[in-house]
Symmetry: C2
Subunit: 457 residues, 2 copies
């Protein structure tokens, strides 16, 4: 059976379904490899559930591990959660210790112990150790594979040993060799480059970098990002309190963990809470997860709208005001969100700290005054032209001008205040901003209108 | 003058100001280094403009380059834009060719030619070449420093040569050595690891990776990200049409460029257009840049609110409806944004393509029906309890249920449609979604209310 090239197939997942039904491991593997990363992800997404659950078990563990590597993490998790423990165990055996621990930690519906029992005892032991550390710390992010030699080993002997291990090295992507002293504590790191350049009989203790930068096993992801940002290292040794080496953290793993966290925060800020959603997930699960945020939001909305409810007399006297309430709400939200974006960015870059809230507020007030005047005049002019009532223009223009000031103040300050109290500013800033500026905006429009009532009607 | 440790200084930028006034280059450099990355960024941010403009010129070029490395890119740009061409030239000389080109490209208010004239002719030439490529392509992202040897060179000789260049190597962070054939075309790549393991007399042509993966100088950032994602390489050679090597793209530079682009898109989606804003920038510039988005938004808002204006009779008959208009608007926007977030994410991961718009729509409809019913019933119940009018509850509940369907359909589809027409979905999806769902939501509430009028009043 020769399949046509991918570009010519309109629905490549149907080819995949046929291959899965036929059960030919090699053809399946070669077809998936030929698809490339993003087409493979798309294909798997479009399979029906029955076929999707077959994919991992229908591949050699090595090929299955390669597939997981190209798929989105959430996609891989879904497939592993629907696999038998022995399939999961066989695939994990193909991965590095840090990935093993990572994946096993993230599977909610899989019995981790059942998987570990089916792995080689040594590998299972190291995964058990790694999963015992919190996932966003050096312990949870490190790999437990590293090369270590005594400081007295001659360079040539290290190179010989490396030659012997050359097959494994390809997997390890070794950049550094670690050097330990008599008591087992870490005393140095040896970049591969120094090893190349060393005369063959010199003990590596003489060419190593002494007292290399190390990472405590308890270091947080934030600390790790800072360290890698400030230094150029590709990997750093992780040590316990006695300065014994437990593993290595790689720059690429830290970058990945950071990106993933940023992505999850971004999704949260857009109302996708409780983990990533893929449209291939069951509809009840997608629906349930998505409901968690709007069902809270409805309460915040009622709170904001209660301001309108308390001014129903004013509204019924000047019904045109109702047209401008959503405009004031949206425009203020827009200005406030800009301030939130700048504060979030400056917090990330370390340019501001929570204690700088008054400095930020002052800077926001300056912009708020200028932009409030401009936007207020724009809205006032629009309202006047549209409704033919200059006083109505003045009321909504003034309200927007003042509320722009309120919005940028809240938008600028809230992320810092949330950070101060160790809450996630990405998640909560938006709702707090919207609710407060809506309440304030509705109040400003309607109370200004009430006090100018004789000129409005 | 001994400064107290940073933690004890409440306002470290005042110390910095004193050091700048004193003009002691070494003390200044050692104070800045002692601050660490994020404190340095914060300190620079809080200096007044006069002092900030002094910083780069007050440091040795090497230290100034190190400072730029720890600061946010936008901060560095601001400082360089206020520096004399000779200061900029001296600092650029300390950086790699790719960074030189990058920075020079990004400086809007600096005369690039004046800077290049003050640099060493050879360096200036290579920067001129690099800046001639579009910045988001392999040509614009590559470094022009790389090590290349003829295929016939024995391994030992390459190692000897590396030993001689050891000082430069530290800067280059060499991972691969490139091998060229008789005609100057690239024929192989040699990982440092293979060099270590090779017997000393073997020509490197025998241990190199033959026909290594190469990148065309015209490759786009998207293509580069895909290549690095699918392969484990830390760097890849960039070649011209004749397969001659022009430079090397490093994984870390591609990651940085990608992150920067993602960050700029995120800021755009929150209304910060025209480049990153720092609160240390001039207030008129911050104000002007921020105005660009809300002043367009006001028109979209008027468009949406015109639906309300055309139903003023219905509104004045049932004034309580005005309370629910902003709620319908916000709740629908919330559901629509969730769909946008999932579509953006699936587009990024390659799980969906623009042609999949009907598939996405079908998947969104399923969630929309479920969540529309739940949220509609929630709002209906709230309205009934609050306003004591069951029919009013039914009207706003039905309107929200139907508009949730509309919102998730638009939210799910719009990013794919925008992508299809090569527009940036991150920027335009939000405004399109909000305007359309507002119009539709207002129409649904008010037309349903109009047709149920006899039961409402």
């Amino acid at each position: 059976m020769t399949e046509p090239p991918i570009e010519e197939v309109d629905r490549p997942w149907e080819v995949l379904e046929r291959l899965l039904d036929a059960g030919d491991r090699e053809q399946l593997a070669s077809y998936l490899t030929g698809l490339g990363a993003s087409d493979a992800a798309r294909c798997i997404d479009r399979l029906d559930e029955e076929h999707r659950d077959l994919v991992l078990a229908s591949l050699e563990p090595e090929k299955a591990a390669e597939l997981l590597d190209v798929l989105a993490a959430a996609q891989g998790r879904e497939m592993l959660e629907h696999s038998a423990p022995e399939t999961v165990a066989a695939i994990l055996e193909e991965l590095g210790s840090d990935e093993q621990a990572d994946i096993l930690n993230s599977l909610e519906q899989v019995d981790a112990e059942a998987v570990l029992e089916r792995m080689a005892p040594e590998a299972a032991e190291s995964v058990r150790t790694l999963t015992s550390y919190p996932s966003d710390t050096a312990g949870g992010l490190m790999a437990s594979e590293f090369l270590t030699f005594a400081a007295t080993t001659p360079a040539a002997e290290v190179i010989e040993e490396l030659r012997r291990q050359v097959d494994e090295m390809d997997d390890l992507d070794v950049q550094y060799i670690y050097v330990n002293g008599d008591d087992g504590a870490l005393v140095g790191a040896l970049p591969l480059r120094n090893l190349v350049l060393a005369r063959s009989k010199r003990p590596i203790g003489e060419v190593m970098i002494k007292d290399p930068k190390t990472i405590a096993v308890t270091a947080t992801l934030d600390e790790l990002v800072d360290v890698f940002e400030e230094t150029g290292f590709l990997g750093l040794p992780v040590v316990d309190e006695a300065h014994r080496q437990l593993g290595v953290v790689h720059r690429s793993d830290i970058d990945d963990a950071w990106d993933e966290r940023a992505e999850m925060r971004r999704l949260k800020a857009q109302g996708i809470v409780g983990g990533e959603e893929l449209r291939s997930m069951a509809v009840w699960r997608r629906s349930y997860r998505r409901l968690s945020w709007p069902s809270v939001n409805i309460l915040l909305n009622v709170l904001a709208a209660s301001v309108i409810a308390s001014y129903q007399d004013t509204l019924s006297a000047v019904i045109a005001l109702a047209v401008f309430l959503p405009i004031i709400s949206d425009m203020s939200g827009c200005s406030g969100n800009q301030a939130v974006a700048v504060s979030m960015r400056e917090l990330t870059l370390g340019i501001v700290k929570p204690v700088d809230v008054f400095y930020v507020w002052r800077k926001e007030l300056a912009v708020g005054v200028l932009n409030g005047i401009v936007l207020g005049m724009l809205l006032a002019g629009t309202a006047w032209l549209w409704q033919g009532n200059a006083m109505l223009g003045a009321v909504v223009g003034c309200a927007l001008a003042l509320n722009t000031l309120v919005a940028v103040s809240i938008g600028g300050a809230v992320p810092l205040v949330l950070k101060r109290f160790n809450m996630d500013p990405a998640l909560a800033s938006g709702p707090i901003l919207t609710t407060l500026t809506d309440m304030c905006g509705f109040f400003l429009v309607l109370s200004l209108a009430a006090s100018a009532m004789q000129h409005l009607t």
